[in-house]
Structures are given as C-alpha cells and as structure tokens.
Assembly symmetry: D2
Amino acid sequence: MDITPSAKAKDYLDRLTVFMDEHVYPAEAVYQQQHRDAADNWAIPPIIEELKEKARAAGLWNLFLPDPELGAGLSVLDYAPMAEVTGRSPIAPDVFNCNAPDSGNMETLWLYGTEAQKKAWLEPLLNGHIRSAFLMTEPDVASSDATNIQCEMRRDGDDYVINGRKWWSSGAGDPRCAIFIVMGKTDPAAPVHTQQTMILVPANTPGVKIERYVPVFGYDDAPHGHMEITLKDVRVPASNILLGEGRGFEIAQGRLGPGRIHHCMRSIGMAERALELMCDRLLSREAFGKAIGMHSVWEERIANARVQIEMTRLLCLKAAWMMGAVGNKAAKDEIAMIKIAAPAMATRIIDDAIQAFGGAGMSDDTPLAWMYAMQRSLRLADGPDEVHRRSLARSEFKRASQCLGIDIRSIRQ
Amino acid sequence: MDITPSAKAKDYLDRLTVFMDEHVYPAEAVYQQQHRDAADNWAIPPIIEELKEKARAAGLWNLFLPDPELGAGLSVLDYAPMAEVTGRSPIAPDVFNCNAPDSGNMETLWLYGTEAQKKAWLEPLLNGHIRSAFLMTEPDVASSDATNIQCEMRRDGDDYVINGRKWWSSGAGDPRCAIFIVMGKTDPAAPVHTQQTMILVPANTPGVKIERYVPVFGYDDAPHGHMEITLKDVRVPASNILLGEGRGFEIAQGRLGPGRIHHCMRSIGMAERALELMCDRLLSREAFGKAIGMHSVWEERIANARVQIEMTRLLCLKAAWMMGAVGNKAAKDEIAMIKIAAPAMATRIIDDAIQAFGGAGMSDDTPLAWMYAMQRSLRLADGPDEVHRRSLARSEFKRASQCLGIDIRSIRQ
Amino acid sequence: MDITPSAKAKDYLDRLTVFMDEHVYPAEAVYQQQHRDAADNWAIPPIIEELKEKARAAGLWNLFLPDPELGAGLSVLDYAPMAEVTGRSPIAPDVFNCNAPDSGNMETLWLYGTEAQKKAWLEPLLNGHIRSAFLMTEPDVASSDATNIQCEMRRDGDDYVINGRKWWSSGAGDPRCAIFIVMGKTDPAAPVHTQQTMILVPANTPGVKIERYVPVFGYDDAPHGHMEITLKDVRVPASNILLGEGRGFEIAQGRLGPGRIHHCMRSIGMAERALELMCDRLLSREAFGKAIGMHSVWEERIANARVQIEMTRLLCLKAAWMMGAVGNKAAKDEIAMIKIAAPAMATRIIDDAIQAFGGAGMSDDTPLAWMYAMQRSLRLADGPDEVHRRSLARSEFKRASQCLGIDIRSIRQ
Amino acid sequence: MDITPSAKAKDYLDRLTVFMDEHVYPAEAVYQQQHRDAADNWAIPPIIEELKEKARAAGLWNLFLPDPELGAGLSVLDYAPMAEVTGRSPIAPDVFNCNAPDSGNMETLWLYGTEAQKKAWLEPLLNGHIRSAFLMTEPDVASSDATNIQCEMRRDGDDYVINGRKWWSSGAGDPRCAIFIVMGKTDPAAPVHTQQTMILVPANTPGVKIERYVPVFGYDDAPHGHMEITLKDVRVPASNILLGEGRGFEIAQGRLGPGRIHHCMRSIGMAERALELMCDRLLSREAFGKAIGMHSVWEERIANARVQIEMTRLLCLKAAWMMGAVGNKAAKDEIAMIKIAAPAMATRIIDDAIQAFGGAGMSDDTPLAWMYAMQRSLRLADGPDEVHRRSLARSEFKRASQCLGIDIRSIRQ
C-alpha cells in the first residue's frame, strides 16, 4: 500500500494550501458579514464568485474530477488530501467547485451521462455556473433501508411522470441550483436491486415545489439549504434517465465511493481545524493561576484528538488507495468503515473544542457549533451508522463462517 | 432520607400533569406556528399569555417559591418533580411563571431584596408582567474561574457607575424584560470573595446597550434570547445594591442551590420526553423486515437511557432533600454532582433519540435538536463541567487526607 | 420513597462498621498470609473461623435473613447498607455468614423448604457449620436464555435421577460445602416456565463429581472456588424437591430480588474501597513536581467515580425499597437496572484505581485486580448485561405502545 | 508513505503464517497441558524447545533483528506484520525467538554492546539458549516520571556496586534467564538526562535476589514471570556498562521505538484473534430463537472492532515507516500515539469477546481473560497512558504556540 501523493498531486496540494492561506481563510469573515448584511438570506455572498474566479485562474478548479481534460485528472487517493484541506473552511468547497453534492453529481454525469446530458448539465456545472441537488431520502420511510423508497416514476409515452416527496436535498436552496438527480421506483415489482432508477429533473420543471428548508440544529444553512421538495406529476422525457431503467442502485453504488472519501476527508479537515482552534484557546486563557491547557485534564483530550485524527486519515487514505487498486466494490468494507469512523471522530473532537471555548464555542463567534451540527448530520446522511455497522458486521460474519466451514445462510437469523 | 412528596405537593403535581396534558402539549404546535408567522421574531406568541392566565387561574403559579403567600410554599424537594414535568415542554416553564432566570431572580429578590426593591421588581415578576435577566458571564475572560470577572462598579456619590461587557444574559431578548441583576467588582483590592457585588439595573437605564443575541448552535432562542450587553457609564442609585457591597459571592452561593435543582430536574424531564419520542419512533417505523426498535442495537440505548434517567433523578432528589435537611452549604457536593450528571445524561439520551429519528431528529420536526443544544449549553452555563469536577475531586481528596491524617495543604500542588 | 434506615438497622450498621475497623480490615493481611502459607490451597485460613466466632458473639450474624428469630429480622432495604459495608472487604461476607451463594440458598430454604429440609440444611447453614452451592449455569448452552438449560431430572419411583453438567458453581470448592441446590428439567415438554425444578443434592451423593475449578481471569478464588461439576445418574429422594415439580422458575424469580440487592450493594462497597485507595495513592506519590492527584486529569475520574457511586447506591436503595413497598415482581425493572448499573460502575472505577496505582494495581499488593475480575464476572453472572437490557427495553416499549394505543404484539419482531 | 512489504518480507510473512497454522496453533493446547502437568510450575514445557527447533530450521528465527547476518535483515516496517502474526498466539513469540524483553535486549546489545559483551550475551540469546530481563521499574516511586528512579550504582575501583529494588522484570522467572540489563543512577547530581546508566548484571551475581513473582490479575505468567528483584551490594566490572556512564537515557530512547512497534503489532494480532473467536462464538450459539450474532447489539461491537483494528494497524505501520524514513526521534509522537492507541483498542475488543463468550470468556477455556490482563498491563508498562498523552499534548501545544507566534515557555504552567 503506497499512499504517497504523485508529484502532480503534491504540487496541487501545495498551491491549494497557499491559496487557502492567502485567499480563503481571510475571506471567511467577509463571507459572514456579507451574508448577515444581505437583504435576502438565500442570496450568494459576492465574495464567493470573486474567489471562484481566482481559484479558477490559479488552476485550482474541479480538482476532484479524475478526467484529465475536464478536471485535474487525479486519482481518488491523490485528491483526498485536497478534500481534507477544503474541509477546513466552510466556504472552501464552493470556491474550488468541489462541493457536495455537485462533485458527486458531476462525477455521476461524467460516468453515466449521455453526450446530450453532459452538454446540458455537466458543462455548466464544471464551469461553476449552475448548482445541482440529489433527491433521494424521503421523509415518510426509514431511509436506513434503501428499499423503502417510495417515489413513483411512471412511464407515459416518451416521458416519465414522477410523484413523490423528498427531503434533505442539500444545495437545492441555492438560487443557482438548476438540476436535480432524482431517485425513484420505476418498477416496484422488479427484484429489489432493479426497482429504482435515476432521472434528471430540471429544477424549474412544472410540478416541482420546494416546500421549505429543513434546519440542522437551528441552522438553515442558507444559501445552500437542505430542502424538502414535492414532485407532483412532474413530467420529463425518458431521455433524461441516467444509464437505464432499473439501474439506479447500480449508479448509487458507483457514486458512493469517491463521495464518501471526499466527505470523510473534509471531516478530517474540520477536525484538524477544531483541534487547532482548541489549542489556541487553551493557551490564551488562564484559570486558577495557569493557562487552561496546562490543566492536565486537557492533555487527555488533545492527545486523543491527535491519535483519532491520524488514525482516521490513514483509514480514509487506505480506502482511497483500495478504490484505485482493487476497485470500488472490493473496497466497500473500507468505505463503510470510514463512513462510521470519520464523522464520529470529528463530532467528538469538535465537542471537546466547544468545551474549551465555553460559551463562545456554542455561538457563531467560532465555527465550532456549526461544524458540530454538520458532522452530526453526517452520522445520518447516506445511511445512519447502524446500517454501515450492520453491513460491516455481516462481512465479518461471512468471513468467519467460511473459516468455520459453515454456510452463513444456515445460521438462524 | 425521605423523598416522598408531601400531600400538598402530590396534589399540585397531579394537577400540573393534567394541565400539561390538557393545555400545554397541545399548545406547542400553536406556539411554533405563531412564532413562525409573527412579523417580529422577538414578539411573544399570544398563546403564552393565554396559557399563563389559565395556569394562574388553576393555581399553578409561582410554584417554585418557598414563600407560602407569594408562592406555593413548597420545599425545594417538593417542587423538584414539578420542575421535571415543566422541563418536558419548551414552553411550559414560562406558562407557570417558573422559568430561568426569572425564578432564580425572584428568589434572590425574595431572600435579599429590601421592601422597596421587592415592591418595584419582585411584585411585577411574580405577577408575570415583566421578565428579568442575570448578567454575570463575560466574553473576555475564562468564566470557569469566577474571580476573573472584570465588570467595574464604581461608587460615585449616592450612585454606582457601571462599566462592563456581559453575555449569555438569557431572557434579555424578551420584550417584557425590564430588570437586570448585574454582578461586578466594587473592590478589586478586597479579599477574593468580597470583591464582587450584585446590583439592580433597570433594562432601560441609559448606557445599557443590547449588542446582539448570541446563538446556541443555530438557535436564536427568540423571543427569550441570550444577549450580549454592554454597560457604559451606567448609573444606578446605591440603594439598588442587593444585600450590601462585596456580598455578591455570598448571594451567588445562596442562589445557586435551588436553581441547579430546577435546571437539573428540567433536564430529566427533557430526557424523559426524548426517551418517549424515541420509543414511539422505534415502534412505528420498519427496516429490514421489522420495527426498528426490535433490532437489539436499540435495546442497549433504551435500557441505558432508563437506567441513567432513574439514577440522575434520585441524585437530584437527594440533593434537594439535603438542602432541606442540612442546608445548601452542606449540600454543595451533591449540587456539584447533579450539575455534572444531569445535562451530560440528557445530551446522551437526546443524541440517541436523534439517531432513532434520522433526519427528522436534527430538524425542527421534533424538539430534539433544540433540546440537544439546550442541554449541551448547560454543560457550560453556571460553570463548565471541569470546574465542578475539580471542586468535587478536591472534596474527595480532603476527606482522604483526613483519613490518612495528613494536612491537604502539605500536598504539593 | 423513604429510605431512612430503621433505628434497629442504624444500630446494626454502626456496630458492623466498628467491627470492620477493629477486626476485619486488620485481618485481611493475616488471611492472605495464612492462605499463602497453607499446604492446601483449598483449606480455610483459620482466621476466618476466629472472626466468625467474634462476629456471632457480637450479634452480627445472619443479618441478611428477614426472619426475626433465625436472622436479624431486617427488611431488604434495612440490610442493604450492611451488604455495602461487607462488600468493602473480600473476607467480610464469610465472616458475617452472609456470603453468596449461601445467603441466597438460606433464603430459598427458609421460604420454600419443608421442615425436614430446613432441619437438615438450613440449620447448619445458619450456624455457619456448612456451606452450599447453587448449580444452574451450564457450559454447553447460552445461559443468557434460561430456557436453554439441559440438565435432566427423571423421576424414578420415589427418587429423581439427575444427569447434567454445571459450572460456575461458586463456593463448591469450599471444603465445608455440603449441599447443592440444582436446577434442571423435569418436564421438557411442559410450557416453558414449568419445565424446570430445583432439588437438593448433598455434595457427597454418588455420581456427583467436581471436575475442576473454573478460574476467573487468573484467580482460582480458592478456597471458595467456582466449580465445574458433572452429575451422572445422581439419585436423590423426591422429597428433596423444593416447592414442587416444575416450580424452579418460580423460585428463581423469588430468589433473585434480594440476592441482586446484596450483590449490587457489595459492588458499591467495593467501588468505595477502590475510590478510597485511589485517592490515598494519588496523594502519596509525586510525578512532574506535584502529587499525582494534583494533575487535573485525575479530577475527572475522581469526580465521576463519586457521582457514579452515589447514583448507583440510590438506585439500589430504591429497588430495595420497592421490594418492600410493592413486592419483588413489581420491582423487576428496578432490579434489572441495578444488575446492569452496579457491576459496570464498579469495574470502571476499579479500572481507574488500577491506573492510579500503576503496576501495583494489577498485582496482589492491592485488592484491585481481584476486585476487577470479580466485578467483571458479575456482568455475566445471573444473566449477561444484554439480557437485562433486553428485558428493560421491552418494558419501555410496552409502556410506549400502551401510550400509543397499539398492541405490542402487532409490532413486527 | 509506502508501507508495501518488500518481496523478502512478503515471503517471510507467508511462511510464518503457514508455520503458525501447521505448528503453533495446534501446539497451544499441548503447551497448556504440559504446563498443567509439570511438577514445577516454572519449568519450560518441552513443546517450546521442539517448536523452536522447527522454527529455526524453517528459517523463521530472529526475524526482528535488522542485521542481515545475525537476523533477517528486515526493516522495522517489514517486520511489523510478522510481529502481528506472532501476537495471535501466546506461545508464538518465544517459538520464533522474538519475545519481549529478549528482542529489545538483543537489539540493545547489537547496537550498543562491545564485542566482548556481544560474544558473552548476544550470541547465546540469538541462539535461543538463554533468556534475559530488563530491570527498570521500581516499586517505591511513581515510574510514570522516569527521573524518579532510585537504584544506586556506585563506582568502586574497576567495579560498580549496585543497590536497588526493581519489579515487573518480565522474563526473569524463566529458568533460562541468565542476564539482566539494569538501569540505575550513577550520578544523581548530573543533569537529569545523564544521571542514569545501563549495566549488564548476570542473573547469578551474588547479591541478586528474586523476591517473588508479581501476578497480573491473578496470573503468575509462569514460566515467564514478572519478578520483583533486590540488588544488594551487587558488584559487576565497569566493562559491563553499556555505551558509557550516564548514557542510560540515550539507550532507553533508542531502544524504545522498535520495541513499541513490536508490542503494538502484537496487540493488534491479539485483537484480531479475539475478534475471530468472538465471531465464531456468536455464530455457533443461539438465544431467543437465533444465533447470538444475529442480535444486532453485536453488530455495533463487531463493526467497531474491525474499524479500530484497521485504524490502529495503519497507525502502527505509519510509525514503523517513519522510523525508517525520518528516524526514531522524529517519529516520537507517532510512537507515543500507538502506545496509547493499541493496548486500549485491544482491551476493548477482548472485553467484548469475553462478553460474547459469557463464563467461558473469563475462564481459561479461552485465551481471552489472559489476553485482557496482558493488554491491560500494557497501558501501564513503559509508562502509563497519562505520560504519553502528556507528551503528545505538549507537542500539539508547541506547534500551536509556534503558529500563534508565542514562546511556549511564556505560558503560565
């Protein structure tokens, strides 16, 4: 296992780091101020588009896309440390055009889109002119079991007619959001893994209604937003289908791997930032006659944070390396592992950082409370912890039963 | 140790429980709707004043106050289960006129106020006509060490002139909030426990400026609000002092006990509500072929929740009983214990409940995320966990050193 | 809920405490030395019988038995604090003739024995002349599910013929152990709760074979011992049955309550002792320029230990109080709770104490490692944690389903 | 970072794995039986020497030693996975002549020994003819602070005269143990890091007395043993000094790195074995109508075990890789991290495995309880967790203070 970044990746990473120092961190306060001052809470603060221009000019653009012409042509492993760096700042992923869910949507279009689909949607997304959303989770069923999905997609001539209710459609609150990838059932009678289909639905299609934003611990996350959306007799041409009817599950699988690496590496970036903030605070305030950090109760937290960050990063890099070495499917256990490990690690560290800051930690004087909410949501997004633990445990049991020479199906469940 | 409620308390509790079922729980959604619909985010939803009228008419009013004429004349122990019940609903404490910080402020005025002070401020507070705030914590110093407080109170003729910056002044956002109790230093050169003084400052005194609300995670907690307030050359008559110059610490000590019981019992009420919601959800959704609750991973969480709630409640009731039996001072270790135990227990249970609900748990479709933020803040309010653990550990060491026959002061620190 | 001890209990407790200080703690080292020096590892160190004489002379004898003539006539609640005190020393329970499993066996005989059975076995047990064992757990099945038990009891004329294999038969290694209460199946075809029967089997009955001691971690727990025992065509008269055929489960239920209180209170006593030892150590050694306890990392552990001990004790006392107030059956949830809470709490605290002592903590220079092993075993004895959590969670779900107005049996399991 | 094993290492690892399957695992029960049957508890079961012959013949001998002639010539990184494999079986390290403390002692002699010292002690150690011990920890001081060491080494002519008391001298109980490396103070007045010296003391030198074995959770760990040893006027020639007077600390530093990698990788091997045993058990027993593993409460534990093992292994391999890439000194934080992470991870997993096995888990029917004791002891050996957390936290603070542009020495401690 060799996780040394390529020379090209090393160069990108160095330049990205410099760009963060010079342009992104100093812009965080500007962003906050512009957002606060805006008449419309859902408007994009102008600083974002300015930074995007700069990032693009600096060649720090679409770094996530493995395509060497459309993106930077980096492997998942090579891109991973850059995802970590962008995770350090709430505004960075947008600046470099590598924010979720757009990056995942772009990758999906790149992998599975027709030329026409690419022309219509991938191109403006890569240019950063539009944004996109991914409509999968539904409020009315336990999304932990993906077979529960109810959104109906009925063929009607050359069209599909879609009816359903989705929520946690992140980014759909963005005024620039123009296209949705929607997951639904085209054939509820089919075998469980071929019932579902992904289809492209322009945001302005009649019948699409954004009902509300769904807050996360009080945050509206404007102007990004996690939206609840109803689709009522929404009609799109059959040519909007991605890959083919009944192949939604297949795409979801293929899509998941890189997206999880990105998410988890950003979680690590956030944890590093929290640890950095925590150390600074502990050194700069005193209580009971010495710097707070010199009270050894904090040594335990700081040391555990460092250990946890290092271990989680290595696991993510291993998962990324495996995707390249043996493919996304063979790496599925490792991908489940980082999904379990990274947000849990980040929430613990951020929570300690909040404690170190006292009241300021819970307020918006630090990004910590928002980070906490964000990372806490990742223990539920893309399947709750319990589902990934179930899947991982079953892999272990399967391996164990093979060693024991028994058929796992003979075990009473 | 007898923690059986008195007959009178039992009767109040029964009536309170019925009132909650009949009036309060059904009003939660109304409150939310009115708050959402209000032009002014900081206006009080009308349902509150309606419910207050009903509660007062039902004799469920100022139950927290031990005074038999002004309040219900109940002991801390007798009132504790009622605090728990009111903690179950975010709107309940206000309805029964027993919300923090008003209840603590009323008790302070009742115990330490002059007749004139009582007439001016206690009476309208008891009537529910005005609200109050308590200005202690400061943004610029580590509040974990109370001796760090910097707010200056300078004697000038018959007045005091106050300069300082306070935050986390909860309730100061309420349009009805008319009076502040302010903690500051009258004599920085005095021995450490007589430097500080509490003084009454009407909210509309010139020089008082509410700078902003401080959010808790993403919640503004409007119309209650946790405010940052500057005091610039604020002048109040010396007669506004509570108890006497340099006696602020003494009041703080006396005030703390009952307030902590109330807070902790409300935490328990919230935890019970969270457990109730969690069980309901686990029984009403299915995944992988059975109700989610029937997956035994949830048994551990449910069982631990029940165990933790029961234990924490007993500890709170013991602390309350001790306050009556041996006095607040002798109960100080027990009061530290519940301050450590109750919010930590509640956050853990609420976090599990969030996990049970998935996305809905983090949103405002359930009260869980708000409850989490609220309880998390209580691990910092009135001193962070670390300070209470320090104090408790030192009690243990003191006891141990006595058994060993050594003088604790001879231990190298 | 009134958990104030009666005057009689208070008096016993005071005298017990004095006796512990004067006779028991100083004898611990003597016991260890005698045990080490003995030619036979399974011989009873003479100090034990000396102390028993003293305890009996002091009237501190059979305090656990509610019978006022045969025992002290104390309620479970009144006896509980005495169980705690005896739990502080590994040798104390034997000294006061209130050790498990004898106390439970005596209580069983007292409640369910015939006059002849009492004459033969209860009397010498109460006199401390013999010891007893309880043969329930079996090595070949998951004992977490009590219906799995396989030991066969076949009626043959006026006798029962018993075949089976038992283990963790604690106390059966004691040379004084003369009688076993054996649980087995008399009717495997009966409804699940009437299949099992308890029968008295003298230790010297032909066909009884003590195969070995089962170590707990590295401890043989000699001369007490947890034995593995085979019963091969063991024949006892039908008059040895307790209460009646098929009533084993019923006795097990009745027996469990008080025994669990005793066990859990002893766990608390052990935790207190560990905390005491830990504080002493932390004050008497220095590292990095101050007493180890003055490094604040220990404050967290000490404070949490105190909080956990207090809470667990209150829960145990509540469970004991409920047994008196509403009966063992109505107290079953509370009894499950303490079974989950007490050993888990004790292992955590003892583990911290071990850490405070360093190498000495794991050795036999302190009783800590043995305490750890002992308490760890209690997370498995009488049903593993998981079973009690399952039972408790199901109570919660039952209550929740009633509130929801649904029949719990309609939930898909 | 490239942690791919070299082709040579891959070959060794494959052969080692086969050897384990064919010879070592099947011999575990033989070892236990021989040990149980031996008249002398401290005799070496004959199977060990037989296996050593086979291992040596197979070329699986002294694999740990980087010297290509005396050992296998593997880097720390290349050897690490082999250490893991040997950690899976309690008897394996001895079989391959790579057990602690011998491997560390051999490495010390190889690095710092004179030719005469090597001839006398390294040669027979490499041949597996003798064993050795490392005498550092002392019972009378807090060993968490290495400067506390008291053992006196006084120069007297051409000799040194040693007086002191040591304990936890592992392996000194082995009848083959012939040589001790002793750490003590030659110059208490010197600067703190040059006070101490390491010297070779043959086990049979007059004045050396093995006082007793120190048990670990009841285990005597015979015939290895952790001994308490007094040195009374023990006289050895000055030529027995390693490296030079006052250079004990320097050697300790150099020695620590590889040893910690070995220890931690063995911890991982043990954790893997525990997980394997746990899965087997969960699949082969039923409760409440299905295999125990199918109760989802176990999914959480199994999944967390897998995640923790993977992460810890990666961290250990990174630390090993760093030692090669940047040297032991620059890798000191990583080495501290694995010392904190690995035994803690292993104890958690083993504890869960014990729970899965019930009573069998605590007994000697499985190796789990012994593994637990062993891993628990590693949270104290070579410095308790607290010391490594302290050191790691201080590195973080140092880095943070540099970023803040402040001198860490200006922080009030």
